[in-house]
């Protein structure tokens, strides 16, 4: 009788712990994602050096963890061909402890003609990916923004 009761308490404790873990990880992911994805925190700029014929695709973001758990982040900028295959990339990984801030800056060097084609939406495009993992990398979320050009995005 007593053993069954103790076992029931253990089951209830496991349920409670999983609920707390779920709440804490969702809260952390939402806060980190919203602080990173906000317009003030992230900027994508394109510049072309006409003299050298090189274009630069630059991503500047300020990552901040206001959540309850540590977060592993992977941020990447990719160039994609018309078939959606990545042919150029620049990515970085950061670990953010609770309350930590880390500015991230990534630049993709591409031929100026290619950058122009991307901006015109002529087949090639570029992609920005933010991956977040928390709770010992067991829970995660990723946001991939594919810019096809030719629009106002």
């Amino acid at each position: 009788m007593r053993a069954v009761r103790v076992f029931g308490l253990v089951v209830a404790a496991v349920q409670l712990a999983s609920m707390i873990a779920f709440g804490a990880s969702m809260y952390t992911i939402l806060l980190v994602a919203s602080s990173t994805a906000s317009g003030d925190a992230t900027a994508i700029s394109v510049s072309i050096d006409e003299t050298t014929g090189v274009g630069f695709l630059r991503l500047d973001t300020a990552t901040r963890n206001e959540g309850l758990l540590g977060v592993n982040m992977k941020i990447g900028v990719y160039a994609l061909d018309a078939e959606g295959e990545r042919f150029a990339d620049n990515s970085t990984s950061v670990h953010l402890e609770v309350g930590q801030e880390e500015p991230v800056s990534l630049t993709l060097r591409l031929p100026a003609g290619l950058i122009r084609r991307m901006l015109d939406g002529d087949g090639d495009c570029f992609e920005v990916t933010v991956e977040l993992r928390t709770l010992n990398d067991m829970v995660g979320a990723s946001n991939t923004m594919t810019y096809r050009g030719g629009g106002s995005a």
Partner: protein, 185 residues
């Protein structure tokens, strides 16, 4: 509070939270949000219907558990079914209606000149829920076995232990009780 009354209250609360509330909530969504949800490819009506039917099932099983004796096979069956339905609820909720994804949900939205794809990986919680449900089932079986054991022990004890025995005249003779003498008499 008796077990039956407790189960009725619990079933009513379950129906309110898991059935009435999800059925009512979509009507209160702002049209913009509704349009975003449908644009993201989420079937909100189907999701709500799944949650509501699970609410009805959990409420019914709560009532069965409240009214069935703890040592009856029906109680065990209702307990195991209740745990299984809870796992289904977790799976559907974490997969946003598409339980086949096993907790990995992909939402894709086309914006002006861009595509935004969000992937939520909550599969760890689906696995954790499966472990918890397995533990719950084991607990239900142990509880059932314990209730049956207790019942059989109770049945072995006669309800009226002195029934059928008659008092003999000598049994009726009580020893004479005398006050303790002080020794002065």
């Amino acid at each position: 509070m008796s077990r039956r009354l407790q189960s009725v209250v619990s079933a009513a609360i379950t129906l309110l939270i898991f059935t009435a509330l999800p059925l009512y909530a979509p009507s209160q969504l702002p049209p913009e949000l509704e349009s975003i949800i449908s644009h993201a490819g989420l079937d909100i009506t189907g999701f709500v219907a799944q949650i509501a039917s699970i609410g009805v099932a959990i409420a019914a099983l709560t009532l069965v558990k409240g009214f069935a004796a703890k040592h009856s096979p029906l109680y065990l069956l209702a307990s195991v079914a209740s745990s299984t339905v809870t796992l289904t609820f977790t799976l559907i909720t974490l997969s946003l209606g598409d339980w086949g994804n096993l907790g990995v949900t992909t939402i894709s939205m086309d914006l002006q000149g861009a595509t935004n794809t969000v992937v939520l990986d909550l599969s760890a919680f689906v696995k954790l829920a499966a472990v918890t449900v397995a533990l719950e089932v084991i607990h239900s079986i142990l509880e059932f076995a314990d209730a049956r054991k207790q019942r059989s022990e109770t049945q072995q004890l006669p309800e009226r232990p002195f029934e059928g025995t008659t008092l003999q005249p000598e049994d009726q003779m009580l020893p004479e009780i005398r006050p303790l003498s002080s020794g002065r008499d």
